[in-house]
């Protein structure tokens, strides 16, 4: 791979998705984009870069962006954030939204759907307490291809064994030979739509909880700040923002504060409501 080709593709990715690739990640470009090159009848990365220079075909650019921004996901990823959701966040919201009886959750990088479906299963398990509530889970991702898989809700044997407790597999999935289909009840709880976090978030509406885990790590500092500041504008005053275990708001945004005792969960800095109640 020559430097010019690397620059061309990495600039394209930065502009379209915010993804920042350092030169030591050049191998990722080749491993992920070689299949895209083959799909377009090109011999490999070098020809792919040439094609981008020559044609700027929107479909090709979308394929490249999607191939580079699709990341693995699994049910109950890291487990602890979902224990916190069940034991801290949900009880708080049940109490503080008791009059409104409405709950909106956004999974900002829904990928193949495991995170929003995990939340849907947790909410289903608590359905006795949510009777009469309007619950909405919105799952967004930059990749249409991965969202199509998410909407389908069909997972391999390997995927349903990473993090998903067996009793929930039995309860909420149907077996189709060696694949597993999540039930319509759970699927209907989640609305998937394509969304690029670099775009304006106005129009998304207000959320009680935002999951934005393992996304910011791919962005540079200004992009991280821009995304977090926009999310601050969407979060309810006493809402909760989840970041990944390796992510922080420190030095990036002063709009959020870590909720004491709750690793990875942030509340709005100017609102002590959720912080006090959940801390």
């Amino acid at each position: 791979m020559n430097v010019n080709d690397f620059e061309l593709i990495s600039q394209l990715l930065k502009k379209r998705s915010g993804l920042v690739l350092s030169e030591d990640k050049a191998y990722l470009l080749e491993s992920r984009l070689n299949p895209v090159a083959r799909k377009w009848g090109l011999s490999g990365f070098d020809e792919l870069a040439q094609q981008v220079r020559k044609s700027n075909d929107e479909k090709l650019l979308v394929d490249i962006t999607e191939a580079m921004t699709t990341n693995e996901s699994f049910f109950f990823r890291d487990q602890k954030p979902f224990d916190q959701f069940r034991d801290v966040v949900l009880p708080y919201l049940l109490e503080h939204r008791a009059t409104k009886k409405s709950l909106r959750i956004w999974c900002a990088a829904a990928s193949s759907g495991q995170e929003p479906y995990t939340l849907a299963m947790l909410l289903k398990e608590a359905q006795a307490k949510l009777s009469g509530w309007r619950v909405e889970i919105v799952g967004t991702d930059i990749s249409q291809e991965i969202l199509d898989k998410a909407k389908e809700g069909v997972y391999s044997q390997f995927e349903v064994q990473r993090g998903l407790p067996i009793n929930l597999l039995v309860k909420y999935f149907t077996q189709m030979e060696d694949r597993w289909q999540i039930s319509d009840d759970i699927r209907k709880m989640v609305t998937f739509k394509k969304f690029n976090l670099l775009e304006s978030m106005a129009g998304m509406g207000q959320f009680d909880v935002i999951f934005c885990r393992n996304v910011l790590i791919y962005f540079d500092q200004p992009t991280k700040s821009q995304v977090l500041d926009q999310m601050a504008g969407l979060l309810a005053n006493d809402g909760f923002l989840y970041l990944g275990g390796a992510e922080t708001v420190l030095g990036i945004s002063d709009r959020f504060l870590l909720i004491p005792g709750q690793r990875g969960i942030y509340g709005l800095a100017n609102e002590q409501h959720a912080v006090k109640a959940a801390g």
Binding site: F76, Q79, Q157, F158, Q161, R162, G163, P165, I166, N167, L169, V170, Q175, D178
Partner: protein
């Protein structure tokens, strides 16, 4: 250090599972069928059992029924690990008292994930 009894009639599977679980800091004991596994549990009850389904002499599910019927013992966490990967087998295992269920083929990630879920790690 927690202990795990690996019950499988395949020496290769026992070896692979042992390697993975030793890497997760478990002390390992092995049994090649359900009968030998019961005898091992009577001698010394492990914290966890990784259990195959189809074995000679006594199957995994027969072992589990006998194990859960044992009185005045600290019951171990039982994780099935079998090629029986259909819903009816899974339901039967849960009804008999299995805590988790791994469908073969497995790898270290799946074992670690399941053992974490049931609080062994």
């Amino acid at each position: 250090m927690k202990s795990c009894l690996i019950v499988d009639d395949s020496k290769v599977v026992r070896m692979v599972a042992r390697k993975i679980l030793e890497g997760l800091n478990f002390a390992i004991d092995e049994a090649e069928d359900g009968q030998k596994a019961i005898e091992a549990c009577e001698k010394s009850m492990p914290d966890a059992v990784l259990l195959d389904w189809n074995m000679p002499v006594k199957s995994g599910i027969e072992f589990l029924v006998d194990l859960r019927a044992m009185k005045d013992v600290e019951q171990p966490v039982v994780v099935f690990c079998t090629t029986e990967n259909d819903m009816s087998h899974i339901q039967k295992a849960i009804q008999a008292g299995a805590n988790e269920y791994i469908m073969k083929p497995f790898d270290s990630e799946i074992i670690e994930s399941k053992f974490t879920q049931v609080g062994l790690i």
